[in-house]
Every structure is written in C-alpha cells, then in structure tokens.
C-alpha cells in the first residue's frame, strides 16, 4: 500500500498530467462532474456522487463517428481516428466501477464498438472507496463493495491522506513512486463503513422475481401506470445513470457535407427509437416501463443475471419529481405482484 497526503495531491496530479490526460471529479459552479484535470482545477474527490457518472470517460455524450464531404455533386467519406492515447481516470466509486462491467457487456460484445474499446484500453482506473454513504446508496444490493472497489488502483481517503494499492501491473506502475504505507487505517475505516452500509434504508432490497422467468408478469403489472404517473419524460435519470448506454446516430448537415455523430438518447423521450411509422411506445407509461424492465429484467436475463443497475442513487437524487428505481423495485420486487 502507498500513501499520499491530500495536500500533495495537486502536485502529484500536475506531474502525472504532463504525460497523460487525467479525468477526475472537478467542481464547476457548485456542481461536481468528471472532467479533465488542469493545474488549478477544483478537484473534489470527497464528493460522494458526481452529477454525471464516470461513464463519460469511455462513452461521451456526443462523439463524432465519420464525416462526409460534398464537392458539387460528389461526396467523399472521411473516417474519424480512434482515441488511442493513455489516460488516467481517478476517483471512481465502487458503483461506477461496476458500471464499466455492464457497459463492457454491451459495447465489447458483438457488434464491437471500436470507439468505446479504444478508450477502455487506454485507461488506468483509480477507484476510490466510500466512507460516508448516504441514504440514497444501495449498491450493496448489486454485489458492489464500496469499501473495496476494484480498478487498476484502489484508493481510500483517511484523515487527509490518500491510501492507494495497485491491483494490476498498470496500476502498480502508476503509484510506484509514492511513499509506502501500512493498511491499518484503511481496514479500520472499512469496518466502520460496513456497519453504516448495513444500516442504510435500502441495504436489503428484494430483487427476487426480476429475471427472465417472470418477464410477462412484471411487464403486465398494472402498477406501472401509478409508478410513472408523475414522470415528466425528461432524460435526467438516463443521463446521470452510469449504466444507461442508449445512443442515437445522427447526421448533421454542415453545409459542406455531413458529420455523422452519436449522442446519448433516452428511452424516456417520446422520439426514442422513432421510426417512419412512429414510435412503438406511444405513452410515458410504456417508456417508463421500458427503462426499468430493461435494467431489472431484460438485461439480467440476457447477461447471466447481471442487473443493469449499480445502486449509485443518482436517479433518486436527481429525478425532478422523485420517481426512481427503488420505488419500482419495492413495488414489483419479490412476490409483490399485481392484484
């Protein structure tokens, strides 16, 4: 185990940033999001929950895929180079780290996504353990240990000191230059945190029944109407979610050609998967159901029981009208069925 005084963090980051891009939680006008480090940036590792998740580092909200250039009546195609530069992603919490596993299942299986894969390959991930989970956290339900997250490097903040331990060769190399430390303070903190985790209101959600075997039962439940009644159809939950991975591919006519780009899409939107005939989920009830059926039923039934939720709590905190996945789990989980 290595250690670094938080007061020396900036110095370390500055040195690292000379050779690699660093992405970590940065505060901008009161909000903390993952962003590219530049000396002087207001780094905020202590923030439990960034507004957006860490997924942007691999799957940005908007990215260019190819360009078409038109000259008179002819058109030429230009490819966009992949991002092949190493970078470091620091401050990833256990929940967000878990989300990479879920995203990998989508983007790295067939059809393989080279844009995502390139970034994934070039990243060194430094996770950060949680010591002050809040009432909206429920990651433990999804097999996340927030006191001991994975990644190339795992880190803990205890009393103004950052403790780090390498889990991979890449990780070891990154922290090799730091001072050695003993792991007692970390273990003590972990024990204390685990006690709190047990006491969290959503520590033990009943996820029974969310599987392929009960698909139609959940799908046809009459509770969706009430659950979704207040839904505004905004995309907040999907955009702050670390596991939402839907995107739309769009063409932008620049006047000289076309830029083909992809951008996040939200199943909560009325024009999600819009086709020539219209949409196949015409009401918000259906869109709302789609989102949670996907996370809790369709995805696990196609992915060895892995839920497409990591319990980060962002949707609980950010939904303008306080709708969220916990309410859905509580309404439909276990043997709680209709009627």
């Amino acid at each position: 185990m290595k250690k670094l005084l938080l007061s020396k963090l900036d110095e370390w980051l500055t040195t690292l940033s000379e050779t690699q891009r660093i992405i970590l939680p940065i505060k901008q006008t009161d909000q903390v999001n993952f962003g590219v480090y530049a000396p002087g940036a207001e780094v905020s590792l202590e923030t439990l929950r960034t507004v957006k998740s860490a997924k942007d580092a691999f799957f940005p909200q908007v990215e260019n895929m190819m360009n078409f250039r038109s000259e008179g009546k002819s058109i030429s195609v230009e490819t966009v180079p992949l991002e092949e530069e190493d970078f470091i992603l620091i401050g990833v919490r256990g929940c967000d780290e878990k989300s990479f596993e879920i995203l990998d299942r989508v983007f790295l299986s067939d059809p393989f996504d080279p844009f995502y894969a390139a970034r994934r390959k070039h990243a060194t991930i430094v996770t950060l353990a949680c010591s002050r989970p809040d009432e909206n956290c429920f990651c433990t339900n999804f097999g996340v240990d927030p006191t001991n997250p994975k990644g190339d490097v795992t880190s803990w903040i205890v009393d103004g000191t950052l403790y780090l331990t390498g889990n991979t060769e890449k990780g070891e190399a990154l922290i090799a230059s730091l001072e050695d430390a003993n792991d007692e303070p970390v273990a003590a903190q972990q024990n204390k945190t685990r006690e709190i985790l047990e006491k969290l209101p959503f520590a033990h959600l009943d996820l029974n029944g969310f599987d392929g075997d009960h698909l139609m039962e959940k799908f046809s439940s009459s509770k969706w109407a009430d659950l979704s009644e207040a839904c505004l159809g905004c995309g907040t939950c999907t955009f702050v979610c670390p596991t939402c991975q839907c995107y739309d591919i769009r063409d932008y006519d620049t006047g000289r050609g076309v830029q083909r780009y992809r951008c996040w899409d939200s199943c909560m939107y009325s024009d999600f998967t819009l086709m020539a005939h219209g949409t196949n989920r015409p009401t918000q009830v259906e869109r709302f159901r789609q989102r949670f059926m996907h996370k809790l039923v369709y995805f696990p039934s196609n992915n060895d029981g892995t839920y497409s939720c990591v319990g980060c709590g962002r949707c609980l905190v950010k939904c303008p009208q306080n709708l969220n996945i916990v309410k859905v789990i509580k309404a439909l989980g276990g043997d709680r069925n209709d009627n």
């Binding site: 207040a230 505004l232 939200s266 024009d271």
Partner: protein, 324 residues
C-alpha cells in the same frame, strides 16, 4: 394543515364535486414527495408539508381529456400564476378544475441541505425558523430560510390568483428581495464576463430536458427541439452553439408567458440558474413595456403579442450600454 386539507378534500369528494385530486404523495423519505392523482381510497397516501415544492399545474393538461366531471387540484400561491396562464392558453379548461388554494410558507430544498455538507439524511424536525436534520452521522440544526427553494426566496406573495377555496395560511417568504438583482448584476458585467458566466453554466447542460418538461409554459404538443422538420432538432448539444441555441430559444418561446415559477432551476440536475434567462426577458419587458406579471389573471394578452406605436426601437439594447 395536512389533516385539515385531507378532510376538506374528502368532504368535497363526498359532496360529489370531484372524485380525484391532483396532489403530492409520500415517497420513500420524508422529503421525497411525488405528484400524484389520488382517488378517495388513495387519499391516505397524500402529503402536504414543507417538501411539496413541485408545481402541479402542468399535470392538469394531460388530465383534461380524461376528466368528465371535475378534478380537485392543490395549488400553491406561486403555482396559481401558472394555472392562470394555462387557462389563458386554453390548455386547461377552468370548468373542469376545482382549485383548492393551499397555504404555503416556503418549501425546503433538500439539495440545499445536502450542499451544506449534510449527508445520510434520515429526518427533519421543523421548529419555526430553525430545522433540525437527523442523519446517519448525527444531527445538524439549520436556519429554515437558508434551505428554502430558490424560488421561495423570490416569493410572489401569499395571494392565490385563482382558487375556488383556500385551505391554510400562507406567508410571503421573499423578505423584500429584488428578484432582478442578479439580472442587473449580470447586465453590469462586461460582455466577455457575461459570456464567460453563461459558458460556465450552460456548458454543464446535459440536455436532459427537465427544465423544458417541467415548465408549465413549455406545453407544446411537440417541441421544436424534438421535431425533425424544424432544422433545430437535436438530442444533445454537439457544441457550445447548440447549448446556447437551446437555452436562448427555450427562454424566448416562454417570454411573456413565463410566470417565473422557478421550476426550471429547481429541477436542473446541474444547478444551472435557468430562471436568470427568463428573468432577463421579464425584466426587459417590465422596463420597456410596463410591468407585467404573466398569470396574474386568466385571459391576459402578453406583451410580446401586443405593441404600442411608441415602443422603443431594438437599438435600445445597444444604447442601454454595457453591451460591448
């Protein structure tokens, strides 16, 4: 007050005035309230307390076609402006709504409690001007006025501008604040300072559309930004221009109709002070065309669909100075 309100709703339902009520219902936490349409049997779920911030008026639009008789609607003083505006725009049929004006003494913003470093919140006790927050990590006492929703700091007053009856007392929580203070401050900056202020804010935008979808004035059947035929449709801002475009046009489309209900800023997940865009329009309209409050009563004609022959010329924008 919650009990008094519930009894009154029950009595109105018993009288046959309506069989449903648009209200708030209790969620997982004491602070987590959810807009809901409740029948008499579901009234037990209803809640009315310091955390019922959401403006319910817009929900009436989608209920309109379903209502045969009437629906009861709980409307706070500030929400009553939005309701009037929607009636003006024929989105809500006044005859189908029985408006219960509910008293309001300012609503608490749980995000502001969190912003004070309080986490793991499990409960709150209110004691007059103070609130005590219970958390997994101990208790904290805060001044109530420090954690009120942004919109409550610029409260439009305790009057309900539309109501069939009122239940409960209201209080003006504005404490004489000038809601245009920040607009004026921005106007006094240099153009580059203003530009950088808005870049810092708008670059956080994730185009979740929460501001638009919650906005009672943004009630278009189909928004221009969702319509592939408008030439401005997009699902995410590809660059700074599109971030600006969305917010300029959104504010422009509600100019004259925006009641300054503050919902846009309340719901923004990135804390962008969107109301400052709307307030700029309100401030300019007040200054150039006379003070106007959208939604003060139903049937108003707003200043941007009106004119006088003596109106000032657009060059006034430049002449007023500090415009570069």
């Amino acid at each position: 007050m919650q009990r008094e309100l519930m009894e009154r709703i029950r009595a109105l339902m018993d009288k046959g005035v309506a069989d449903q009520v648009l209200a708030w219902k209790r969620g997982e936490f004491f602070y987590d309230t959810e807009p809901a349409i409740l029948t008499k049997d579901e009234l037990g779920e209803m809640v009315y307390d310091s955390f019922c911030g959401p403006n319910l008026s817009k929900y009436l639009i989608k209920e309109m076609p379903k209502i045969e008789n009437k629906i009861l609607a709980l409307i706070k003083p500030c929400d009553s402006y939005s309701l009037n505006q929607l009636i003006t725009e024929h989105r809500i049929d006044r005859d189908k709504v029985y408006v219960i004006g509910v008293g309001c003494k300012g609503k608490i913003d749980v995000d502001k409690i969190r912003a004070k470093g309080v986490s793991g919140i499990t409960g709150v006790d209110e004691n007059g001007d103070k609130i005590t927050v219970h958390t997994l990590y101990g208790d904290t006492t805060l001044d109530r006025k420090d954690v009120l929703l942004g919109k409550c700091l610029f409260c439009k007053g305790k009057e309900h501008r539309i109501a069939d009856e009122t239940v409960g007392e209201s209080e003006d929580t504005s404490e004489g604040s000038d809601r245009f203070e920040m607009v004026k401050k921005l106007e006094q900056m240099t153009p580059d300072e203003r530009f950088s202020f808005w870049r810092k804010e708008l670059s956080k935008c994730i185009r979740c559309n929460a501001c638009r979808n919650v906005c009672p004035a943004c009630s278009c059947v189909k928004c221009v930004f969702d319509n592939p035929n408008t030439g401005v449709q997009n699902k995410a801002a590809a660059n700074e221009f599109e971030e600006n475009l969305f917010h300029i046009i959104r504010a422009y489309h509600v100019a004259g109709r925006c009641t300054d209900c503050g919902e846009c800023s309340r719901v923004c997940p990135q804390g962008i002070p969107l109301h400052l865009l709307n307030r700029k329009f309100i401030s300019d309209i007040n200054e150039l065309y006379g003070t106007y409050q959208a939604g003060e009563c139903a049937g108003q004609r707003h200043p941007l669909i009106d004119y006088t022959q003596e109106d000032s010329e657009p060059s006034i924008v430049h002449e007023r100075g500090n415009n570069g």
